[in-house]
């Protein structure tokens, strides 16, 4: 399988390639022509006084909910004195330009805009967020072109293994922070434990990068669940966009499942959860992943969302402060709500942290256009910001920083129809509880 970009070896120089690869010679017909390749122009090099940061997220399409808070965060970051006045590296100050690209929720477009940022905008660093369909093509383009990249809001297994990563290795230019299956387990299983059930869990995972990461019986949530003594009923590897879940639901009912968990794309949960309600499948507790992360998802489902539990890696209740603005999580969420008139979304914390990291990495190097040096800073990053402590050196693989999510439930709110309430902090005791864990279906 792929060993793409995973080697610890020095990147092979053009000259070496020209001299050695026979396949290339065969392909191009003659060695003379290959020797002439010395004149190929690559991407133009920049030594300008501007640092270019690319940001890629799904602002339109099926995944647009993930990026719903992006505009506010970007405006706020651009307005901070750090970004407005430029980064000070030693005695020199560099202007900072942030170039934003939309993937239209398409992996092909994500790859294309990443290459655009690298080749046309001469990005010195690319930040990307939300789902493997966004982050993986972007990170692959960065790794292949030697451009530093930080990803977030993607389970690390779906980011690392799906890109051809192997245990014991790491990528050279691409890093990420979020969490993985073990943390999902640490977040969900304590809530299941508190429910006093028959320990039969219904699993519904699609056949996509996220779903397959959850399903893996050695590294996935299925493994951690079985280890904790739960009996897993796997609904089968369905395709994203499936419209009929009745046989899956019937299977869960007949096996007596009392707990429910999944990792679907948001529209699919909408369909599945409504069909489950119609079929009378009423698990005592539903802990969902990848959906109901944002208020927009809850509006689509209506009252069926009441007391459905999910994971939260960032809330206004987290006791952390921004390294850029000095705001606490609460102040940040309040300023978001007052500026946009919309309910806070947890992605704003992660996106804000991407720009905290960018600032830290660039101000720790001498030359911001030295991509290897910036990438080295990213891989050795260890700091505490609005997402809490992020340590890229001690993760499951180098270059991956792990967050600790807390268990939350959607409950009827006062200011907005439904609000996210922290009901279980087993995985991160720093976050205070502000509600009780209540069965989804009593």
């Amino acid at each position: 399988m792929a060993d793409q970009g995973l080697s610890f070896e020095r990147r092979v120089s053009r000259r070496q390639v020209l001299k050695t690869i026979g396949g290339g010679a065969l392909m191009l017909g003659s060695a003379d022509l290959l020797a002439a390749c010395g004149g190929i122009k690559g991407s133009s090099t920049t030594s300008s006084g501007t640092i270019v940061i690319g940001y890629v997220s799904p602002q339109t399409g099926a995944l647009a909910g993930f990026a719903s808070g992006d505009n506010y965060v970007l405006d706020q970051v651009r307005a901070t004195s750090t970004y407005k006045n430029g980064f000070k590296l030693g005695s020199k100050t560099y202007d900072v330009k942030i170039v934003v690209k939309d993937t239209q929720s398409s992996p092909d477009r994500a790859s294309q805009v990443a290459r655009d940022l690298i080749l046309t905008d001469k990005a010195d660093l690319i930040l990307t967020s939300s789902t493997p369909e966004t982050t993986n093509p972007v990170a692959d383009a960065c790794e292949a072109n030697g451009i530093p990249c930080v990803s977030t809001i993607v389970p690390w297994e779906a980011w690392f293994f799906a890109r051809g990563g192997k245990p014991g290795t790491s990528f050279n230019f691409t890093t990420m922070f979020f969490f993985g299956m073990q943390q999902f387990g640490e977040c969900f299983i304590p809530m299941w434990d508190r429910m006093n059930t028959n320990k039969v869990v219904a699993f519904t995972y699609p056949n996509d990068a996220d779903g397959n990461a959850f399903r893996d019986n050695k590294t996935g949530l299925e493994f951690y669940s079985a280890q904790a003594g739960y009996h897993n009923i796997d609904g089968g590897s369905y395709t994203d966009g499936t419209q009929d879940y009745s046989s899956m639901i019937a299977n869960f009912k007949s096996k007596g499942a009392t707990l429910f968990t999944n990792a679907p794309i948001p529209p699919d949960f909408n369909t599945m959860w409504k069909q489950a309600a119609q079929a009378g499948f009423k698990p005592k507790l539903a802990t969902v992943a990848k959906v109901l992360l944002f208020p927009a998802d809850t509006e689509a489902i209506g009252d069926l969302v009441n007391n459905v539990a999910t994971d939260a890696w960032w809330t206004p209740y987290h006791p952390y402060t921004s390294t850029l603005t000095g705001q606490t999580c609460k102040q940040f969420a309040d300023s978001f709500e007052s500026a946009t008139g919309k309910q806070w979304v947890q992605s704003i914390g992660s996106v804000h942290s991407l720009f905290e990291i960018a600032h830290k990495a660039f101000t720790a190097v001498d030359d911001p256009h030295n991509h290897t040096a910036v990438a080295a800073q990213l891989k050795s990053m260890n700091y505490t910001g609005i997402s809490g402590p992020l340590d890229f050196t001690t993760g499951p693989v180098p270059g991956v920083a792990i967050q600790k999510p807390v268990g939350v439930q959607w409950k009827k709110g006062t200011k907005f129809p439904y609000s996210m309430v922290v009901v279980d902090n087993s995985a991160n005791k720093n976050v205070p509880l502000n509600g009780d864990l209540v069965p989804t279906n009593p």
């Binding site: 065969l26 392909m27 122009k41 992996p107 692959d140 799906a162 996509d208 395709t239």
Partner: protein
């Protein structure tokens, strides 16, 4: 009366095409990789739109399932690369495998007509997708990276990718051109104008359509191979996405259906819009949709149809021109003036039927 292929010497056309190809081939030495990367995307789209145009514009076969062969091409490259074969060398293999797959599929989908054919081809593409996501070694639904290319120096890889894309686009256009100038081209024009009439005068409709279907699949397979090479990864849901059909249809429609030049022009327009307006988010998509509707309603022959009917311009002459004997010279300027009349005949412009 005299009949010629074009109003100019065909030799000039060949010389012109060669000059363009040679000029494009030297680009990696002249411009930076941002331009060549954009052109790789453009070449892929030109190939896809040309292949769709061949089906719809000349054969009256409206397919929304050509992404099946985009996927087959991409996965052929992946399988070969996983077995240690250079991905660039695998491009011709992707072309052949796609063509080979298309032969049995054609027997299946050709049992359907018109709208049923369109939906049938889409179903075939979905079946290919559903089958491939079950194969764990090819990344399943998770997707996987294309091995072997990431360690090559980015500058060299970018250039070779560009040359490969140029070669595929050139070959696709040349194949289309030669096909349409052949005897089969005449058959296809007859089928496009009236299938029943063509059948009644002895045109072997089904075999001509099958040949075009297979050529179109081969072209889409080569485009799929270029896609995986330029992106270095493949995700089944993306490569088998019906979005590819939407792009092919859009480009062929705005450029001009039933002409070789149309998809090239359409690609240029599409890329220009994408580069300048994609940041508008949802408005960009609304704009693309409105443009397609507007062109379909008011310019059914597309923008190239407008240009060529006004200027009597042809880059790839595949039709026949009738010259009246009283014409002083076949190279004379405007038709319908000074007694010189050139009638375009069957040059393959203008909608499905």
């Amino acid at each position: 009366m005299r009949v010629t292929r074009s109003r100019r010497s065909a030799l000039w056309g060949i010389v012109g095409a060669l000059v363009v190809v040679v000029a494009l081939a030297t680009l990696p030495y002249v411009v930076y990789a941002d331009v060549t990367d954009l052109l790789v995307n453009a070449f892929i789209l030109v190939v896809l739109a040309s292949m769709w145009n061949l089906l719809a514009g000349y054969c009256g076969l409206i397919s929304v399932g050509q992404q099946a062969y985009v996927g087959v091409g991409a996965y052929t490259v992946l399988v070969l690369a996983q077995n240690g074969i250079n991905a660039y060398v695998a491009i011709p293999a992707a072309l052949l495998v796609s063509a080979a797959v298309a032969v049995p599929v054609s027997f299946l989908v050709f049992r359907l007509r018109a709208e049923y054919f369109a939906i049938g081809t889409w179903v075939v593409a979905e079946v290919f997708f559903l089958a491939l996501v079950r194969v764990r070694s090819l990344g399943g639904g998770t997707g996987t990276a294309l091995p072997g290319l990431a360690l090559i120096d980015p500058v060299l890889r970018q250039a070779v990718t560009y040359w490969s894309a140029l070669a595929v686009a050139g070959a696709a256009l040349l194949a289309t051109y030669l096909l349409l100038r052949s005897r089969m081209g005449l058959d296809l024009t007859a089928i496009r104008d009236n299938e029943l009439a063509a059948r009644s005068v002895g045109v072997r409709v089904t075999s001509a359509q099958r040949a075009v279907y297979v050529v179109s699949a081969a072209g889409c397979g080569a485009a799929g191979a270029l896609l995986i090479i330029s992106q270095l990864n493949v995700l089944a849901s993306a490569i088998f996405s019906v979005q590819w059909s939407a792009k092919m249809i859009f480009i062929a429609l705005i450029g001009g259906l039933g002409s070789i030049e149309g998809p090239i022009l359409g690609t240029g327009i599409f890329i220009a819009i994408q580069q300048s307006l994609a940041q508008l988010g949802a408005w960009y998509l609304i704009l693309l949709g409105s443009l397609a509707v507007g062109i379909a309603m008011f310019l059914p022959k597309g923008i190239w149809g407008l240009i060529s009917s006004r200027l009597h311009l042809q880059v790839f002459p595949v039709g026949y021109w009738l010259h009246r004997q009283d014409s002083p010279s076949p190279l004379a300027g405007e038709p319908l003036s000074s007694g010189s009349r050139d009638f375009p005949r069957g040059q393959g412009r203008g909608g499905g039927s």
